[in-house]
């Protein structure tokens, strides 16, 4: 039998639960438009009768003790979050690419009103200039009075200038893209990584204190969503025992591949955030390929690296035979000279936050790559030191002076390579900045890299070189046809011409153009027969040119054919090929963003606030509150009857 005042307790729990629900409804309504907000609900359950299972449990009609609001939780699906972030990374990659490609496309085409009609037309600027040059040559051969060597020279100058401007614009886009990557991408991603680690810390503290910290989780989720735009990430939550039978979820974030699975290279994963520890991205540019070999291309290679985890920015210093973990922390480079009679050098870079275990791994790798040291030295982590042990009585010394070390021995602490970034805008930027499509490809192999900025600038170089060599050879009058170059790299030298440096020979004044190569009779002149100009037109319009890749890949001369056709077709191919590339990336980007929208819709279906839902909830919980209050009145009346009116029957 329940106690006399049980009803009041039940009514009170109902009122409390209804108020909690009403408050949460209010919270949901007020945050309906808050970015990243996840719909919340009150976790409530019925309280069983207290006698259940007890020694004095009574039988018969028993009643529970009302309702308990045990907490609040979020309506969120971790699977959809993961899907969303994977897709966001894919979308981030193509978005980064398409923006730069649009800029590139604008360089090659312009909209203008054609002189022949009032209609505006899309003009391929390079082809247009090239065709003007040919027209001037043609006009001279047919004896048109307005055509002369100087008009040809002016047109050639315009063509060279157009090539210069186009090549420089491509360079500008490259430097803009690098600065976008570095100033906004890398810095923003590092800020996000740091703030995620900070949220982890705050959430853990709040949860230990008994709070749910739902709003902090929302902000952390938002930061994770934003981070996934830059790199593909995999988020893992592991329950951690905090004593008294309670657990909190500890979150770690690692790099993921394009399918959303943790990225593993040689069994190693790349952790961005682990609890409150975090790593840091850095971007650098140098003239080295990913394997450390020198890049012979005309541009610098961009490298993105990931540091080890840190929560306070620890780093290392070198003592004789050991490496310690010092304070204060600075980024440093140390040089280890290890060896016996024939000293060997290994250079190790230790960015801020490199873990000792990671350092050991890299030192071991470096030693194993050095045939003179391999197998003779072993390393061990001893406390905060990395100790070196030599075998066979070898002596060991470590130097901090960078003396005559081969840069090829430089190892990065992180071990991460550009290729490990499989998705996200970082990957997009790297492809644009570093990849050159067919120019990266060895002869006989299929092209696997994207046509980035490098492809187009190298294609322009190839065209400029072929243009110069075709025209120069026709104009030459000596046996090697190289004595009267029209196009040069610096006004005199015809070798090493690129699109950026192509310019007219400083010797090109009137009379420099070879009009005819037939030796005239004594006292005669064939300078007005223009037979050589006709030959030049033939070389420029009808002769098949073979545009080959000129740079080396991994020290191998590729020599593969990039384009085979007339120069006129080569000029036109630049903008049409770029158009196709843009169109293809655009289509992938559209698909990616529509997939992302679909996944976002699915996520919003669960997590976002519907005003209608909340209005219904409000009515419902308001009614529940009224009903519980009414019940309390009923119980009160009941008690009134029992206490004041019972047993007074028959009193006068």
């Amino acid at each position: 039998m329940s106690s006399t005042f049980d009803g009041l307790f039940i009514a009170r729990s109902g009122v409390r639960a209804a108020r909690a629900n009403l408050n949460i409804t209010g919270q949901n309504i007020t945050n309906a438009n808050t970015d990243g907000y996840t719909r919340q609900r009150v976790d409530q359950s019925a309280i069983p009768p207290c006698e259940v299972g007890g020694v004095w449990a009574s039988s018969g009609a028993t009643c529970g003790n009302g309702v308990a609001a045990t907490g609040t939780s979020q309506l969120r699906d971790a699977f959809l979050d993961s899907e969303y972030r994977t897709q966001k990374a894919n979308s981030g990659e193509t978005t980064a690419e398409i923006k730069a490609l649009y800029d590139m496309e604008d360089i090659f085409t312009t909209t203008t009103t054609a002189s022949s009609s009032s209609k505006s037309a899309v003009i391929d600027v390079l082809s247009n200039e090239y065709s003007n040059f040919i027209s001037q040559l043609q006009a001279l051969t047919s004896g048109k009075s307005t055509a002369s060597e100087s008009t040809i020279r002016e047109e050639a100058k315009l063509l060279a200038t157009k090539l210069n401007i186009t090549a420089k614009s491509l360079d500008k886009i490259r430097s803009q893209q690098y600065s976008n990557l570095n100033d906004y991408g890398i810095n923003k991603a590092n800020d996000l990584i740091k703030s995620i680690a900070s949220y982890n810390d705050q959430i853990e503290k709040a949860e230990i204190a008994g709070s749910t910290a739902l709003e902090l989780k929302d902000q952390r989720n938002l930061a994770l969503d934003q981070l996934s735009q830059y790199v593909g990430i995999k988020v893992t939550e592991t329950p951690k025992d905090i004593g008294a039978g309670r657990t909190v979820d500890e979150m770690s974030v690692c790099l993921a591949d394009e399918d959303g699975n943790p990225l593993k290279v040689d069994g190693q994963t790349y952790t961005l955030v682990d609890g409150k520890s975090y790593a840091k991205f850095t971007a650098t540019q140098d003239a080295k390929n990913e394997d450390g070999s020198s890049n012979t291309g005309s541009f610098q290679i961009t490298h993105i690296r990931l540091s080890g985890l840190t929560d306070d920015g620890a780093t290392f210093t070198a003592n004789s035979g050991t490496v310690t973990n010092p304070s204060p922390a600075t980024d440093s480079t140390y040089y280890f000279q290890i060896g016996d009679n024939a000293p060997q050098s290994i250079q190790i870079q230790t960015p801020t936050g490199t873990s000792l275990a990671a350092l050991k791994g890299l030192v071991d790798t470096a030693i194993s790559h050095n045939s003179a040291l391999a197998g003779k030295i072993s390393t061990n982590v001893v406390g905060d030191h990395l100790a070196f042990t030599t075998s066979g009585g070898n002596t060991l010394s470590i130097t901090s002076a960078p003396t005559s070390l081969s840069p090829d021995n430089v190892l990065n602490m992180d071990g991460m390579k550009n290729d490990d970034l499989k998705s996200g805008s970082f990957s997009g930027y790297l492809k644009l900045l570093n990849e050159s499509g067919e120019y990266d490809t060895l002869s006989g192999n299929a092209t696997t890299t994207m046509r980035g900025i490098g492809y187009y600038s190298q294609l322009l170089d190839s065209i400029a070189q072929n243009l110069a060599s075709a025209v120069n050879a026709v104009n030459g009058t000596n046996d090697a046809s190289d004595n009267k170059p029209l196009f040069t790299k610096d006004g005199t030298n015809a070798s090493g011409v690129t699109a950026e440096n192509i310019q007219l020979s400083s010797k090109w004044v009137d009379g420099y153009l070879t009009m005819s190569k037939i030796p005239p009779h004594a006292g005669d002149s064939t300078a007005t027969s223009y037979s050589n100009i006709t030959a030049m037109i033939t070389a420029l319009t009808n002769t098949t040119q073979n545009l080959k890749s000129t740079h080396m890949v991994l020290g191998v001369d590729k020599g593969i054919t990039i384009f085979n056709g007339t120069l006129e077709k080569a000029f036109a191919s630049v903008s049409t090929m770029l158009g196709q590339d843009v169109s293809s990336v655009q289509s992938t980007n559209n698909t990616n963003s529509s997939l992302l929208n679909n996944i976002d819709s699915s996520r919003q279906e669960i997590s976002s606030v519907s005003i209608d839902d909340e209005a219904i909830d409000m009515v419902q919980f308001n009614q529940a509150l009224s009903a519980s209050s009414r019940f309390m009145t009923a119980v009160d009346e009941c008690l009134q009857t029992i206490i004041n009116s019972m047993g007074v029957a028959g009193r006068g």
């Binding site: 490609l101 006009a139 051969t141 000596n478 046996d479 976002s608 209005a615």
Partner: protein, 474 residues
């Protein structure tokens, strides 16, 4: 499916933005009619468009060239008709045919001088017509259209400094000498000896001796053998030939020549090598089996009369070994001697064989000479003298007419080419319209459709966005 306010809002935003973007594009297309704004909008159409642009520009070049060539050949044709009519004219007493008829009919000595003067006038009038210009170019200059081709010197006709009868170049002699070039190919260079040196060395032969010896020259049996050590450049060779440097024996080329019996030379400083590169670094290596080339001031008149100057008029110009293929371009060269005739021929009559010129003007000169020299001669003798030239004159006139007919064929060929390029212009313009531009009706209709879609989406938005259950709760 649960639809939330946020979902609806964000989807609506996206859709309205898409509808607006589509309307904007359609609006732009409704006033510029372009099928694409950037190559990436439609890569295939862009590629076709750029190809058509190129073809149109090429076609415009060809049209220009054909127009110029047309004017050029038409002017030439008019001049040739004129020359021909001078040759055939019988209109007055000073007309050529009349004069010849009068000569054949017998004329007194006083009239002979008048007739000779008239013939000279007729000849000079032909020469001045043949020196006509079209624009800045001398029409009948062949490969040299920069200066007047015909010139009378000492009563002889010269075409670009070359005697039209004998082929003798008054500007000097030259020799074409074989050597091995830097690419290890057999090549030849032309040594020009100038007027005075050429006259002294005329009919000598010259060769680069093989195997190469020390720098120097030897004359034996009418052949000048030039010995050059390895690593001699064209510039070195020229310096030795013009006396700037001495040979290995310490003496000049002039001395070598004098030692070999050449007389009358005082200097070799005028000798030049044709096409000598500015840097002069090309190596000259003797051929394995050298052949001696003649130093001659006689030019091959036939090759001079058949010079070509090619102009690209869209016949698919091609070249072989750096030379334009004949059928692939229009030959605009009209060497004057091709029309007026050149060289000489031998005729046989009662007095034996005689050499008569083929050139119309030279023939006229000869006839005038006959008349001028005929003082005291009988009419019969004069008629006999003149008649041997009259045959040649008639033949040359026939040849001129046939060459004129060839020119007519060229003109009709140009006219065909002109109508082809003009048809091509229309067809390319059609093609351009098809690939680059939208159909006007389609563009306007599409704009109205997009505008309707956009308006509809705004209307629907107005209906649904404001509504929620809140509006109906009391």
């Amino acid at each position: 499916m649960r639809i939330t306010t946020q979902m609806m809002m964000s989807r609506y935003k996206r859709d309205v933005s898409d509808a607006f973007a589509s309307m904007n594009t359609a609006m732009q297309h409704a006033y510029d009619y372009r099928a694409f704004d950037k190559p990436s909008d439609d890569p295939l159409a862009a590629a076709q468009t750029f190809e058509v642009h190129w073809q149109m520009s090429e076609n415009a070049d060809y049209t220009n060239n054909i127009q110029n060539m047309d004017g050029f050949t038409k002017t030439a044709d008019t001049i040739l008709i004129n020359v021909n009519s001078i040759l055939s004219d019988t209109g007055n007493n000073n007309a050529l045919k009349t004069i010849i008829q009068n000569i054949n009919g017998g004329m007194n000595e006083g009239n002979r001088a008048d007739a000779a003067a008239s013939l000279t006038t007729i000849r000079d009038s032909i020469i001045s017509k043949m020196n006509a210009k079209y624009g800045d170019s001398y029409i009948f200059g062949g490969s040299n259209s920069g200066s007047a081709p015909f010139q009378m010197i000492n009563n002889e006709l010269y075409y670009r400094g070359i005697n039209v009868d004998t082929g003798v170049n008054i500007n000097g002699a030259s020799a074409t000498v074989g050597y091995t070039d830097v690419n290890n190919h057999a090549n030849s260079l032309q040594i020009n000896f100038g007027k005075d040196i050429g006259a002294k060395l005329n009919n000598y032969k010259i060769e680069i001796a093989s195997p190469a010896g020390a720098l120097g020259a030897q004359v034996s049996g009418g052949t000048i053998k030039i010995s050059i050590p390895s690593s001699t450049t064209k510039a070195d060779l020229q310096k030795f030939l013009n006396g700037s440097t001495n040979g290995a024996n310490g003496q000049t080329f002039l001395k070598d020549l004098q030692d070999g019996g050449v007389t009358g030379l005082t200097s070799t400083s005028g000798i030049t090598i044709s096409g000598l590169p500015d840097n002069g670094t090309d190596l000259v290596t003797p051929l394995g089996a050298p052949t001696a080339s003649s130093i001659s001031n006689v030019v091959d008149l036939a090759s001079l009369a058949n010079e070509n100057v090619y102009v690209d008029i869209g016949l698919g110009i091609t070249s072989t070994n750096g030379k334009i293929d004949d059928q692939s371009a229009f030959d605009s060269a009209m060497p004057g001697i091709k029309y007026l005739g050149y060289g000489t021929k031998t005729i046989t009559n009662d007095d034996g064989t005689k050499t008569v010129p083929c050139n119309i003007c030279s023939v006229l000169t000869k006839i005038a000479d006959c008349l001028n020299k005929s003082k005291g001669e009988s009419n019969t003798a004069v008629i006999k003298d003149v008649s041997q030239y009259i045959d040649s004159l008639n033949q040359s006139q026939t040849s001129l007419q046939s060459k004129q007919a060839e020119l007519g064929e060229k003109m009709s060929f140009l006219s065909d080419a002109a109508s082809y390029t003009s048809d091509m212009k229309i067809s390319l313009s059609d093609k351009d319209n098809n690939v680059e531009y939208l159909d006007y009706t389609d563009a306007v209709e599409n704009f109205y459709t997009q505008m309707y879609c956009y308006n509809a989406s705004l209307k629907v938005g107005g209906q649904i966005l404001q509504q929620s259950l809140m509006d109906y709760l009391k």
